[in-house]
C-alpha cells in the first residue's frame, strides 16, 4: 500500500496530527518551511517509533547532512539540488533524490538515479524543493518507472491524492502545501489527507504495526514476546477463517443468547424530555454483561493454538465470571486474579467463579484492585507462558490484545447499527458507553467510527470528583505512559509511578485506558466525560424505576452522562446507551450506599 509523507512540519501539533503518516519531513534548505536542527530534534521527540524522519537538503555538504542525521536523528535524507552520485552514495541513511519533471525526457532521468528512492515534483518556482503546483501525471505513464522506489509529490491535496495513487501506484506520496491553510499546516487537513490516501485500508495499517497513532505497541518482558507474536499470528489467521468466525457466532447465538435487543426506552425518553433513547441490552447476555463476547472469542482462539490453560484478571468480577464460564463450557483450566479489595465488594461474583470451577487468587499488593490483578496475571503468564493463554478482559495490554478484544466486542456496535436502521430508518445522533479499560465502548463505537454524523461519548469514573485525588478519570486527568504492555494514557505521579485509581465501580477502577481510546480522543473522534460516584448511584435509582432494569454501576456512569447530554438534544434526535451489564453483582454496594431508600 502507498505510504504517506507529510513534509515541511514546523509545529508540535502538526507533527502529532501526522502521527498516522509513514514519514514526516523537516526542511533544512532555504524555504519558508525551513527549521533549525535543534527545532527538528525537538519535534522528532513527538514522532512515533516506526515513522521515518526525512531531512530535506539542497546542495548541502556531506558533513552537514551527516551531522543533522545524527543530531535530529533522521532516518532518511531527501536531496533537491544537483548533488553528485558520490555524495548520494556516501550518505549513511537511505536517500531520496528529487527531480523536477517537465517532459518525458525528464521522467527518464529518474531511472538513472543512484538514490534509494526518487521523488517527482512539479518544477520549483520560488524555492527549489517544490512549488506546490499540480503535476501532470500522464508524463510518468509509459516512462518505465520502477514504482517501488517512486515518491510522488507536487500539488497533492486531500481531494486528488486518491487519483494520484490510482494513476501512479507509487511507493509513497509526499504533501506539503496541500495540507496547509494560508501558508500554515492545518491539522485537520493533514488527517484528512492521510485518511484519503490510505482509504479503507487505514485500519489494516494500524493493526499491522500494533499502534493506534502513537499508542499501543508491545511493551512486555522478553519472555512474553514469543507468546505475544504467536498470538498475533494466530489471531490474524483466525480472523480471516470463515470456520472460526462461524464457530464464534454459533456460540454467541446459541450460548450467549445474541442478538440482544435495542430497546426503546419510552419512560426514560419522556422523563428526560429530549431525544428518543434506545438501550443496547448487553445486560441480557448469559452471565450478565458484555464480557462474555470477548471471553468466547479468546477461548476459541486459545484452543486453536493448542492452549488449554487460561489465566485472567478481573475487577468487578464480570470478566472473571465470563472467563470461568467459558472455561467450564470448553473444559479448560482456569485461574483468576482478583484484587482483595474487589473480592470484598463483589462477593457474589467470587462465589460464581468458584462454583464454575475456577481458582480465584486474591491479590493483596498495591491498591488490591484491577491494576494489581493485571500485574499478577502478567507474572503468572510469564511463568506459565508455554501452555497458558492470558485471556485479557478489556481493550488493553500488548498488541494484538486491544485490537482482538475490540473485534470480539464489535458485535455490539454492528447489531446496534442494523437495529437502529430497522427502528428509525437512520443512524443515531449520539451514542454513549462507559469506559474503564474501554471494551464495551470500543465494541460499540468501532462500527460507527467512519459515520461522522454520529457523536460518540465515552464515560469514565470521576469517583469522588476529578478535582480530588480519588478518581479513575484517565482521559480527563491522565498523561502519556506505558502500563501493562501498551503506550497509553495513565494516572501517574510526576516521577512516573502509576497512581491508584478510585471508583465505587470496581469495573472502572483502573488508572489506564485502552490505547485505541487514547488515539480516538487525540484525533477528536470520541469525546470523554467523567461522572462521579454519587451521580452514578442516582442514575441507578432513576433508571431502575423508569425502565425496570437494574444497571451495573459501570453502566450507570453512561446513563448519568446520557441524561446530561440529552438536555442539549432535540426531540427529533436519537440517543443510544450501551447497557453494558446488569446490577445483580452490585446489590451489596447498592444496599449499603442507598440505605434508607424510600
Amino acid at each position: 500500500m502507498t505510504k504517506v509523507k507529510i513534509c515541511g512540519l514546523m509545529e508540535v501539533q502538526h507533527v502529532k496530527a501526522a502521527g498516522q503518516a509513514d514519514a514526516i519531513g523537516f526542511v533544512f534548505a532555504p524555504s519558508k518551511r525551513r527549521i533549525s536542527v535543534e527545532k527538528a530534534a525537538e519535534l522528532a521527540k513527538h514522532v512515533p517509533a516506526g515513522v521515518d524522519k526525512i531531512g530535506v537538503f539542497v546542495n548541502a555538504a556531506l558533513e552537514e547532512i551527516e551531522r543533522t542525521v545524527r543530531e535530529v536523528p533522521l532516518t532518511m535524507v531527501q536531496l533537491h539540488g544537483d548533488e553528485p552520485d558520490e555524495l548520494v552514495q556516501a550518505i549513511s541513511v537511505p536517500v531520496v533524490q528529487a527531480f523536477s519533471i517537465r517532459t518525458t525526457a525528464d521522467a527518464e532521468k529518474l531511472g538513472r538515479s543512484v538514490a534509494d528512492f526518487v521523488l517527482v515534483d512539479a518544477p520549483g518556482t520560488d524555492y527549489r524543493g517544490g512549488s506546490g503546483h499540480v503535476f501532470d501525471w500522464t508524463l510518468l505513464a509509459g516512462a518505465g518507472i520502477d514504482t517501488s522506489r517512486l515518491i510522488v509529490a507536487g500539488g497533492l491535496n486531500p481531494d486528488n491524492v486518491a487519483a494520484a495513487i490510482g494513476q501512479t501506484q507509487p511507493f509513497m506520496v509526499d504533501v506539503s502545501s496541500g495540507v496547509e491553510t494560508e501558508g500554515v499546516k492545518d491539522a485537520v487537513k493533514i488527517k484528512h489527507f492521510i485518511q484519503k490516501a490510505k482509504g479503507d485500508s487505514m485500519q489494516e495499517t494500524i493493526e499491522k504495526v500494533g499502534f493506534f497513532g502513537k499508542y499501543g505497541g508491545q511493551f512486555v518482558p522478553e519472555t512474553l514476546m514469543k507468546a505475544v507474536k504467536e498470538l498475533e499470528d494466530s489471531y490474524t489467521e483466525a480472523k480471516d477463517d470463515p470456520e472460526f468466525q462461524k464457530e464464534y457466532h454459533h456460540y454467541l447465538k446459541e450460548y450467549v443468547g445474541r442478538e440482544q435487543p435495542l430497546t426503546y426506552a419510552k419512560r426514560l425518553t419522556e422523563a428526560w424530555g429530549g431525544p428518543k433513547v434506545y438501550l443496547k441490552r448487553e445486560d441480557l447476555n448469559h452471565t450478565g454483561a458484555h464480557k462474555i463476547n470477548n471471553a468466547i472469542g479468546q477461548a476459541l482462539l486459545a484452543m486453536r493454538m493448542g492452549k488449554r490453560k487460561i489465566v485472567a484478571e478481573t475487577g468487578a468480577g464480570q470478566h472473571g465470571v465470563a472467563t470461568a464460564t467459558v472455561c467450564a463450557l470448553f473444559d479448560l483450566d482456569c485461574v483468576i486474579f482478583m484484587g482483595e479489595e474487589d473480592i470484598k465488594r463483589q462477593q457474589l461474583n467470587v462465589f460464581r467463579m468458584k462454583l464454575l470451577g475456577a481458582r480465584v487468587e486474591s491479590v493483596t499488593k498495591g491498591s488490591a484492585t484491577l491494576k494489581d490483578a493485571v500485574n499478577e496475571a502478567l507474572r503468572y503468564w510469564v511463568t506459565n507462558v508455554e501452555d497458558t493463554h492470558y485471556l485479557i478482559g478489556s481493550a488493553l495490554g500488548p498488541h494484538p490484545f486491544p485490537t482482538m478484544v475490540r473485534d470480539f466486542q464489535s458485535v455490539i456496535g454492528e447489531e446496534t447499527k442494523r437495529q437502529i436502521v430497522e427502528h428509525e430508518g437512520r443512524l443515531p445522533d449520539t451514542i454513549l458507553a462507559c469506559v474503564g479499560g474501554g471494551s464495551n465502548a470500543i465494541g460499540m463505537f468501532y462500527p460507527f467510527l467512519k459515520d461522522e454524523s454520529v457523536r460518540l461519548i465515552g464515560v469514565e469514573a470521576a469517583g469522588e470528583g476529578t478535582e480530588t485525588e480519588k478518581h479513575a478519570a484517565t482521559m480527563t486527568k491522565g498523561t502519556e505512559g506505558v502500563l501493562h504492555g501498551a503506550f497509553m494514557k495513565l494516572l501517574q505521579s510526576d516521577s512516573g509511578q502509576v497512581l491508584e485509581a478510585h471508583s465505587v465501580s470496581a469495573g472502572l477502577d483502573y488508572p489506564g485506558i485502552g490505547p485505541e481510546h487514547a488515539y480516538l480522543a487525540d484525533i477528536g473522534r470520541v469525546e470523554y466525560k467523567a461522572i462521579t460516584d454519587a451521580e452514578a448511584l442516582e442514575a441507578v435509582i432513576s433508571f431502575s424505576r423508569l425502565e425496570g432494569i437494574i444497571p451495573a454501576l459501570e453502566t450507570a456512569h453512561a446513563i448519568s452522562q446520557a441524561e446530561k447530554t440529552a438536555k442539549e438534544m432535540n426531540k427529533d434526535e436519537i440517543l443510544v446507551i450501551c447497557v453494558s451489564g446488569r446490577g445483580d453483582k452490585d446489590m451489596a454496594t447498592y444496599a449499603e450506599k442507598l440505605e434508607g431508600l424510600a
Binding site: F219, E222, M225, A227, K365, K371, Q497
Partner: protein
C-alpha cells in the same frame, strides 16, 4: 563496558550485583556501592523502583515498595550518583522500567545518566522491536542498551538481538520472574551454550541466581552472573556478609 570483554578474554567470570536504589533510604546507596566494589563485584546494576514491576518477583517488588515509600525517584537517584566523590571502580548500570524514563524524558534521562557515571541501561519492558525509543538517545551519550534473551526467545529473534548486542547480553535463566530459587531447569545449560556460541559480547546469566551450586552448574557455559534478589534481601536484613561466598565462587580463579 570494554573491560567486560577484557575479563572474558582473560577467562575470568563476571559478577554483576543488583541493588534497589533507596531501599532503606537513598543515603544507603553510596555505602552499598562502596561495599560491593570492595567485595570484588565486576559491575553494579542500580535498580529504580516502580509501582508495577511485572518482571519482578516478591523480593524486588517489596524492596521497590519500600524505596517508593522513602520518596525515591529516578531523578533523585541520578542526582545522588552524580554527586558521588568517592572513586567508582566498577561500571554502573541503571535497571529501570520504561515508564519512569518516559515521564522523565528519554533524552534528558540519557544525558543525566551519563553525567551520573552510568555506562549502560537495562529496561526489561522495552523489547528489541521498540528499542529505538531509548537506544537512539543512549547511543548519542555512548551508553549501551543491554538486551535480554530468554528461554522463549526464538532462534530468529536471538540472532537479531545478538547481532546488535552491546556491553553484555542478559540471559534469563528461567521462564518467569526474578527471585531466588533452589533448582535450575536442565534446559538452561543448553540455552546458555547456544547463546554464548553466537554472542559477540559476554553472556551473563540472571534471574534466580542465589546459590553457589547455581554458579557451579552454569560456570562453564556463561561469562558471568547477575545476582539480584539475594543481594537485595541480604542488604535489607543486614546480612550482606553472607553474599561473599557467592561473589567468591564466581570471581575466584577456576578451581579446576
Amino acid at each position: 563496558m570494554n573491560r567486560l570483554s577484557v575479563l572474558k578474554e582473560n577467562g575470568e567470570k563476571a559478577f554483576v550485583a543488583y541493588i534497589m536504589a533507596g531501599d532503606g533510604g537513598l543515603d544507603r546507596l553510596k555505602e552499598q556501592v562502596q561495599y560491593l566494589q570492595e567485595a570484588g563485584v565486576t559491575a553494579i546494576e542500580v535498580g529504580i523502583p516502580f509501582s508495577d514491576p511485572v518482571a519482578d518477583g516478591p523480593t524486588i517488588e517489596a524492596a521497590g515498595d519500600r524505596a517508593l515509600k522513602e520518596g525515591v525517584t529516578l531523578e533523585k537517584v541520578l542526582n545522588e550518583m552524580a554527586g558521588w566523590t568517592f572513586e567508582v571502580k566498577v561500571p554502573l548500570l541503571i535497571m529501570t522500567y520504561l515508564n519512569p524514563v518516559i515521564k522523565f524524558g528519554v533524552e534528558r534521562f540519557a544525558k543525566q545518566a551519563k553525567s551520573a557515571g552510568v555506562s549502560a541501561v537495562i529496561i526489561p519492558d522495552l523489547p528489541y522491536e521498540h528499542r529505538q525509543l531509548a537506544e537512539t538517545y543512549l547511543k548519542k551519550e555512548d551508553m549501551a542498551l543491554v538486551q535480554l534473551v530468554t528461554l522463549t526467545t526464538t532462534e530468529k529473534r536471538l540472532d537479531a538481538i545478538l547481532q546488535e548486542a552491546e556491553g553484555f547480553v542478559y540471559a534469563v535463566t528461567v521462564t518467569g520472574i526474578t527471585g531466588a530459587r533452589d533448582e535450575m531447569s536442565n534446559d538452561v545449560r543448553t540455552f546458555m551454550r547456544r547463546v554464548r556460541e553466537k554472542s559477540p559480547v559476554p553472556v551473563y546469566a540472571g534471574f534466580g541466581i542465589s546459590k553457589t551450586h547455581h554458579v557451579d552448574l552454569l560456570r562453564d557455559d556463561v561469562d558471568g552472573f547477575i545476582v539480584g534478589s539475594a543481594i537485595v534481601q541480604a542488604f535489607y536484613e543486614d546480612k550482606i556478609e553472607d553474599i561473599k561466598p557467592l561473589i567468591e565462587a564466581v570471581t575466584a580463579p577456576n578451581p579446576v
